[in-house]
Amino acid sequence: MLDNSESYVTEDGRTIGGVVMEMKNITLRFGGVVAIKDISFDIREGEIRAIIGPNGAGKSSMLNVISGFYVPQEGEVLFHGKPRPQLRPYEVAQQGIARTFQNIALFEGMTVLDNVMTGRLNKMSSGLLAQAIWRGKAEKEEIENREKAEKIIDFLEIQHIRKTPVSRLPYGLKKRVELARALVSEPSILLLDEPMAGMNVEEKEDMSRFILDVNDEFGTTIALIEHDMGVVMDLSDRVVVMDYGKKIGDGTPSDIRNNQAVIDAYLGVAHD
């Protein structure tokens, strides 16, 4: 077992740092329904961490807990070693946690560029008056952040649709724009909610490549949930497996492949 602050080097030569975020005995209930039951795990810097599980296992709820949208009734979330106080969702974003959504949540009335630029909003500080006049600081800031946004747009290969309204884009591209919006905020943790859902094989391959590239190029810590086992096993460094709100496995993909509880949950087990 590694210490929280220790780092290690993976087989393919990447360095995984210390623990960025730690979930401690999280329990989440909706009325009488227990969505998450006493789950603990951690996310290390620079790794790709997957949360998998069958439908209704509580994956999305878990992601919403990490992103601060749901507040668990029990347990605590440690971020950079300190317990995270109860925050409003936008304050979580200001702390450097960005996410994408299962059912794309782009701003349909805006262009791709504007959508990506919204990802920079926490990096911009000019006030209402400065923006009204548009000379000096506001304009300079706008240009600087535009450059950052364009870099990500280039990286994710969506230059050609920069000025297209998002509502006109096909599904796969929308997913990519959403990734760009999350990535451009230079998050310390990037949460991906079923990034491959509803995609065909080719789009899945593209998306996997982008996720690996992002992790490689920017060293971004990524936590993703997904129920396509195959994709997850190839992508991630460590995997948490959930079933009916409980954690039934946690470890490297090869550990998980050989975990009897996981195999039972996925393939079903004969009850006698």
Partner: protein, 358 residues
């Protein structure tokens, strides 16, 4: 043919961020400004100033204000009439309390007062949305009109309950009161409209505009990516109130000169401005102009056709006006929710490729 962007390359993000990125648009904008400031003041007469130009300019400011709140930030307000009344009465109190200060600053300050009032009535938007909020803003409408009607301090205890604009000068030229010239009042309002439009454009093309639109398009997602919903919504209410207040002040001081609050700033005014932005185009500064021009011109044109040409009595023409406005709202909502501004964009798109569309 002549409307094209080929060869008009941008080499910096500053160029790309301009209000009118295409050269032709930019030149046309300068030409329009030159005509508005340099030509029309010499041609204007009282009829055109009062029947079309002044109301057009003033309603455009109100429409820009409401468009920021409704078109950009997605918060529907039915309190525009009440907020215009705040601008008018604030301007009146300031004009009579500080007669030595230039009226220009009175109008600006009236905008500021309205911004504060509007923000206060925007507070419920933090809890409720959609038409719940729209209905809640009706509370502002009725309460404010009642207040200005009942509390005599607001109309300086005058017996008639009306407010009358005293004569005020800008550079020695009267812009309010009985002895104004059409060109002076026109230019005075035009200056405000130009400034308002530029400010609104700057705000909406930058990060503030993106925050507003993010709230409009999907408020939960906006919050999760880091938009503070309270600040975004309340700033929209404040900015919107500022413009609406200015327009209310001008409507009272420059255009009408005397105001009875229930008659001038009633619920009908709220709907009128809302219709302007629906027909003109939600979320478009140009649409605010187009909608204001359209709804100011419509009764004038109908009167020309109905009363002067067909010889109908005026009340029938007024009823026709209702029917046409109502039908237009429905048609636009069904066929073109982005209004005249979108029709204009589509036309431009076609022109860009003309005469070789393929």
């Amino acid at each position: 043919m002549f409307y094209r962007e080929a060869g008009d390359f941008k080499t910096s993000y500053t160029d790309d961020n301009q209000t009118f990125p295409i050269k032709f648009d930019r030149y046309r904008y300068y030409v329009v400004l030159a005509i508005a400031f340099g030509v029309i003041p010499f041609l204007i007469n009282d009829y055109w100033a009062n029947a079309f130009l002044l109301p057009f300019l003033i309603y455009s400011i109100a429409a820009i204000g409401l468009n920021i709140l409704t078109g950009y930030c997605g918060q529907v307000s039915l309190g525009t009439g009440g907020f215009m009344a705040v601008g008018a009465y604030a301007c009146y109190k300031l004009m009579t309390s500080f007669p030595d200060v230039n009226i220009f600053f009175h109008v600006i300050a009236a905008g500021g007062v309205t911004a504060i009032v509007c923000t206060a009535f925007g507070l419920p938007s933090l809890r409720i949305k959609g038409f719940y909020l729209a209905v809640a803003t009706l509370a502002a409408q009725f309460f404010l009109v009642w207040l200005f009607n009942k509390v005599s301090w607001f109309y300086n205890y005058s017996a008639s309950g009306q407010i009358n604009a005293p004569e005020r000068f800008v550079f020695g030229v009267p812009v309010t009161g009985a002895n104004t010239d059409a060109w002076a009042t026109y230019l005075f309002c035009l200056v405000f409209l130009t400034i308002s439009a530029i400010i609104a454009r700057n705000l909406t093309r930058g990060m503030q505009g993106r925050k507003w639109m993010a709230i409009r398009d999907m408020d939960i997602a906006a919050e999760i990516i880091g938009v503070n919903p309270m600040r975004a919504k309340l700033s929209a209410f404040a900015v919107s109130g500022f413009f609406i207040g200015i327009s209310g002040a001008l409507f009272f001081a420059v255009y009408l000169g005397a105001v009875e609050v229930g008659e001038v700033f009633g619920i009908q005014k709220s709907f009128l401005v809302l219709f302007m932005i629906i027909i003109g185009g939600l979320g478009s500064i140009f649409g605010s102009f187009a909608g204001a021009a359209f709804l100011v011109l419509l009764p004038v044109v109908l009167k020309l056709i109905g009363v002067d040409f067909l010889g109908w009595p005026t009340d029938i023409v007024a009823h026709f006006n209702l029917v046409i406005v109502g039908a237009l709202i429905i048609v636009f909502l069904i066929a073109e929710p982005h209004g005249i501004a979108q029709l204009w964009r589509v036309a431009k798109e076609k022109l860009r490729l003309w005469p070789f569309p393929h």
